[in-house]
Amino acid sequence: MTAAFPPSTGGSDSSPAPTPGPVATHPALAVWSAIQPFVVLFVVVATFWLYGQVQRPDSPFLSSPRMATIAKQTAIVGMGALGMTVIIISGGIDLSAGAILALASVALAKTLADGMSPGMAVLVTLLLGCAAGVLNGLLVTGLRLVPFIVTLGNMLVFRGLAEQLARQQKITVEHSPSWIASLLDTPPVGSYRLMATGAWLVVLLAAIASLVMRYTIFGRHVYAIGSNEATARLCGVSVPRTKVIVYAIGGLFMAMAGIYSFSDLNSQGDPGAGLGLELDIIAAVVIGGGSLSGGRGSLLGSIIGALTMTTLRSGCVYVGVSDPIQKIIIGAIIIAAVSIDQLTQRRRRG
């Protein structure tokens, strides 16, 4: 359908349309499935903006401090969502994500407090996250267990390790280097940076990861495994190796999120950090168009999904909705967003 037709020479534009190809996909639906996360986000933002225009004209919803705060809060979930997206595309899931975050934040605090150089401490933290992911991957492939069970178990294992490492206390680092401490600091109003360094880093990593998923053999094999693992194996894809790498990447991104959390808590390593965060992350991926049965998902979509979740939270505070009601609203919106997506998917196939 992408063939370029030669420019029409005069009045011969009444030639019959080319016979439709074997794919009976309505182009509008294909486009819709790509932009749906954006539409959902737009609707959410527009709703709160309208509310502000009517109810609180003195304090509009889209003020730059609020947007900077949203960007900062999105950074943690968004960072985790990047790793989770790759895992979900491969047909897996990582319930230990929040625990890896806590483990990483404690490890960073501990190494810094013990006087390790900041660069080295960050490296150790990232490697630790990576190792946690590799363990997930090895258990999934080696024992042939479903990822749900493996990561459910490791959720407790990693959380326990974090608590053990921190001796069940929060570890505060007195002289944490400023580039770590200010990772999520909102730049002053009017600054050319617009949002926190950490938020920019998420955008950069999302772009890199998108390229990798689209233009490398690895990326394509991840999609293939999620779409039909038996076929991938038959075609000579090294399924175990690819899966281990996938979970390692997941762990790496969660460790990054752990560093963010450390920074966010004013240079504190908290073994209780990120409790239940994996569910927010999974929700972000799913709102962004990821399919829990694998084969489908987009990194950009997941970031938009994370942004949607944060905007909802921030908007509910802005409107003054109580915490319980906020939970109900967010839950309902997750279900609504995914069912709209399912509906269009079904329409595309039918």
Binding site: M1, T2, G21, P22, V23, A24, T25, Y215, T216, I217, F218, R220, H221, Y223, A224, G226, S227, N228, A230, T231, A232, R233, L234, C235, G236, V237, G295, R296, R348, R349
Partner: protein, 500 residues
Amino acid sequence: MSEVTKSFGATRALSGVSFSVERGQIRALIGENGAGKSTLMKILAGVHRPDSGQMAVDGKPFAPRQAVDALRAGVAMIYQELNLAPHLSVEANIMLGQERRHAGWLRGRDNRRVARDALARLSQSDISLDAPVGQLPIAKQQLVEIARALASQARILVFDEPTSSLTETDTARLFAVMRDLRSTGLGIVYISHFLEEVAKIADVYTVLRDGRRVAEGQLTDATSADLARAMVGREITELFPHAPHEAGGPLLELTALSGADLPKGVDLTVRRGEIFGLAGLVGAGRSELVRAIYGLNAVRSGRVHVVRVGPAGHSPRASIARGVGFVSEDRKEEGLALGLSIADNLTLTNLGPYSRLGLLRLPKRRAAVAEWMARMECKAAGPEQTIGELSGGNQQKIAIARLLHQQADLLLLDEPTRGIDIGAKAQIYRLIGALAAEGKTIVFVSSYLPELMNVCDRIGVMCRGRLREIRNASDWTEERIMHVATGAAANENPHRTKVP
């Protein structure tokens, strides 16, 4: 492949089987289920290793240890259940596992060129490289899979029942592709149940029975009857045993029945003790019609009436209570719960006789199920065996036994003989005849015309949702049925429906 033997425990699945395929040749490999075809396939594909015997490709020893090895040696399998990643594009599927690469990055243009060339060799340049494979029709998906084999420089293609889910037209197209490939020097192994197709496409044949090679030769020297005899080990006339039965008064009456999309305005009366066949192409609305009768598909307008019971229910539950039973065409996904036992599958619709105060009396049920299994000649370890472990034929016997167990008077059988071997088919034909003789009414949907014409009393042919023409089975010819089913007859006499 020579003198290949493979045993599983005490069962010898293959004993001393040899066969060869030459360049530019299509060899048919035929045999009933359990004859050893799948074991042979799995050895070729490297899933199993032979206990003894050698294999060679182009004179080089060939001993695949996993699927990839076979592929690398130039042997590609096209399985019955397609092996494609539905979310990925056509190009990604063709190049999967053999991507042209540069330091881990995809070489987009090279990949597209190889994929395009492979499709061009199949004369399928109209398939878009970027279309997600899951959205292509099944016949096109199969071609994508063949293209993948071509892109891997395969020299031997092994097709396992490639036509089982294709329409006649698509089958003809596939055969044209296979002939093209043969002329370019590929060796093709064609595994099939359908003897008519084998006669059409293959040059030479090998028949397996009970793990042994029982016949081999040129197809020009063999008739379908010869092949069938070699497969079954007995005369083909036993295939369609005739049980005398007499049709009584009307039982099922359909008036202008229309579904959500299909069927469209179907009028039909089926009588007690009658076997009524429904013929038509895939998508003609045959399945939709029986599903609407059973209450699985929504009825938009019209009426389903079961005589002396009243209007049929609008749900399977209500239909079962009214003596209507249904066997799904999709045995694996819908017809049976493959992970459950024979007993569970057989009694799922009617647990009443075995329960007291809501508790199941399992010993009583086990005894009853054992009786049913004996009556249905179902070969299995016992009532508690998981049904997924049985052969297709034995599974289907249980699926039909379920209807009898729920005391159905009207049996709606949607492709009941699909994917089962000739021996089991013959048993099912005999059973259908016996049921009609008992006064049960059978509606028999099938795409396999010989069975419809030999088993049914009357046959109705559907086309585009409408029931075009009904005649006594003896008044039809296969040509005439195809003529009506393809819509060619629609303009001649659109409303001819003859009810005796």
